[in-house]
């Protein structure tokens, strides 16, 4: 059974993961930071998607993996929130 997710909790979980695993500490990260411009590559994208799918027990459809959805944590949070509601 999925936990009752709130947008704030999703946001915090993603930011914490990105800070610990993907980005250099010198990079300022908040929900509006452009992830692509901050240096994300295909390998780190895949890492992040694997984390999200495992953490929130969802499957992100291929067509949702695009520049708009992956632009920042805000957009990712909206996507995850929508997907958890659907499933």
């Amino acid at each position: 059974m999925k936990p009752n997710l709130t947008s704030l909790w999703i946001e915090e979980a993603i930011i914490l993961f990105l800070k610990n695993e993907i980005y250099d500490p010198s990079i300022h990260l908040d929900k509006h930071t452009n992830l692509i411009e901050s240096g994300m590559d295909s390998f780190s994208l895949l890492n992040m998607l694997m984390f999200i799918e495992k953490k929130f027990n969802i499957c992100i459809p291929q067509e949702e993996i695009n520049e708009t959805r992956m632009k920042n944590v805000q957009n990712l949070t909206d996507l995850i929130y929508d997907l958890t509601k659907k499933e």
């Binding site: 993907i22 250099d24 010198s26 901050s38 590559d41």
Partner: protein, 450 residues
């Protein structure tokens, strides 16, 4: 973490494989495993100022003329860093081509610089060449030993030398340099043994490839090939770059341009091999996975990557779709079996073996081959390199030496939004005309003009 004992910095596994490749290349008469960045400047800076700047940087980073040694008991290689060593490196050489007769002289000089070996055992790890050209322009060439740092590290280092990064970062490398949960890959000496079982997954992958071992152009024609490197570079304008990146996303998915680039190279490389009468049962392509924390602007002074080995059968290389499909299947398999971590564990073995033995093991495993072609995509160049010593940079090129075999490699990189491709190869492997044709076909393929 990287172990530090006063003036002793241990090499990590990725550094050691770079060292083994260096040994392998020198054994075959080539200059060694090096990287090169070329900057084009529209005006000149003062040579004295530059030499002063090098002295400052050397004081701040004495590792740039560290001496390579091995532990007496554990045999693990390390840099012996001595700030007061007084070694005459890095050297700055100047070349005046102000009155040269044409581009051929500059081209020949650049090739000579690429083919000058470095004495890494004596502390020569970085070298600068300043070329003064007509019209008050100049070129700055930084050549570095690949065992010291990767291309990203070299860009950061060059930005520090050029002054644009000086003072912007605190230069205190943290232990946490790696992304994606690979932070704990280093085994501090005296170490626990490497993770043999994890490493075995990577060796199994090599065994699987070795069931149909590749034959490289080098091996087939080694009698005719000289151990001297040549290279050619092509560029795409802003519109072309945008267009082909859109095509890459459409064909291979978001942020997957590497897959698109590789499909273009492999399709055309197969055609080159067929035209030269090479009938290889498979093609092996090693691809580096950049494990550096994203957004890092530190030179780091160690190689932060893992290597995934891709194998293509000739039937996989008939069209773009079949190459992409073969690539995707192997990428999924690599992630499913955690081959990135397996490779890091395998690389740790290289720390305990002498370079010559490790290089021999690598060759033996694939029946004398290391790869069919080397392909790299370091991506966007550092924006801090838009000026150097206060002068705007007109272009930046990457030129690597390429491990032998195969002795041929293709590097993709973008600078100021434009895509560049460098094809580096041993003289005699392909002619300059064939190299140009190869690059033009890659261009057509990338732009869907094939």
């Amino acid at each position: 973490m990287i172990s530090q004992k006063k003036n002793r910095i241990y090499l990590n596994g990725s550094d050691c494989i770079m060292l083994a490749f260096d040994y392998q290349m020198r054994r075959l008469g080539a200059p060694g495993n090096m990287g090169q960045i070329i900057l084009g400047l529209s005006s000149r800076f003062s040579e004295t100022d530059f030499r002063n700047q090098i002295s400052l940087v050397k004081k701040r980073f004495p590792i740039i003329n560290a001496v390579l040694k091995r532990g007496l008991f554990n045999r693990i290689p390390y840099w012996e860093v001595d700030a007061d060593s007084g070694l005459p490196y890095p050297q700055v050489k100047t070349h005046d081509l102000e009155k040269s007769t044409g581009p051929a002289t500059l081209k020949a000089l650049k090739r000579d610089i690429l083919n000058q070996p470095m004495n890494i055992k004596k502390g020569e790890l970085v070298r600068f060449d300043l070329i003064y050209t007509a019209g008050g322009c100049m070129k700055v060439i930084m050549t570095w030993a690949h065992v010291l740092m990767d291309a990203h590290g070299a860009e950061s280092f060059l930005a520090i030398v050029g002054g644009s990064l000086m003072g912007k970062t605190d230069f205190n490398p943290t232990n946490n340099l790696m992304s994606g949960g690979y932070k704990n890959r280093f085994f501090d000496p005296p170490s626990s043994p490497p993770k043999w079982q994890d490493a075995k997954k990577f060796f199994n992958r090599i065994d699987n490839i070795a069931s149909a071992p590749p034959v490289s152009l080098y091996t087939k024609y080694k009698q005719k090939i000289k151990p001297r490197l040549d290279y050619q570079i092509i560029s795409f304008d802003l519109d072309e770059t945008k267009y082909l990146l859109d095509l890459a996303e459409k064909n291979c998915g978001f942020l997957n341009e590497s897959e698109y680039f590789i499909s273009s190279v492999m399709g055309e490389f197969h055609n080159v091999c067929c035209a030269k009468g090479l009938d290889s049962p498979s093609y092996v392509v090693p691809l580096s996975v950049d494990l550096r924390k994203k957004g890092t602007r530190l030179p780091v002074f160690s190689n932060q990557f893992a290597t995934l080995l891709y194998s293509f059968k000739p039937e996989n290389l008939l069209c773009r779709e079949s190459i992409i499909e073969a690539f995707k299947i192997q990428t999924q398999d690599a992630f499913r079996n955690n081959l990135i971590f397996a490779n890091l564990c395998a690389l740790e073995f290289s720390r305990f073996l002498p370079s010559w033995l490790y290089a021999r093991k690598v060759r033996q495993t694939l029946k004398g081959e290391i790869a069919s072609i080397v392909i790299a995509n370091p991506g966007k160049s550092l924006s801090d390199l838009s000026t150097f010593m206060g002068i705007p940079v007109s272009y930046q090129h990457h030129v690597p030496t390429v491990v032998i075999p195969p002795g041929i490699g293709v590097v993709f990189y973008t600078y100021s939004g434009k895509l560049f491709i460098t094809l580096a190869y041993l003289e005699g492997m392909i002619s300059p005309v064939e190299a140009d044709e190869f690059l033009q076909k890659i261009r057509s393929h990338l732009l869907h003009r094939d």
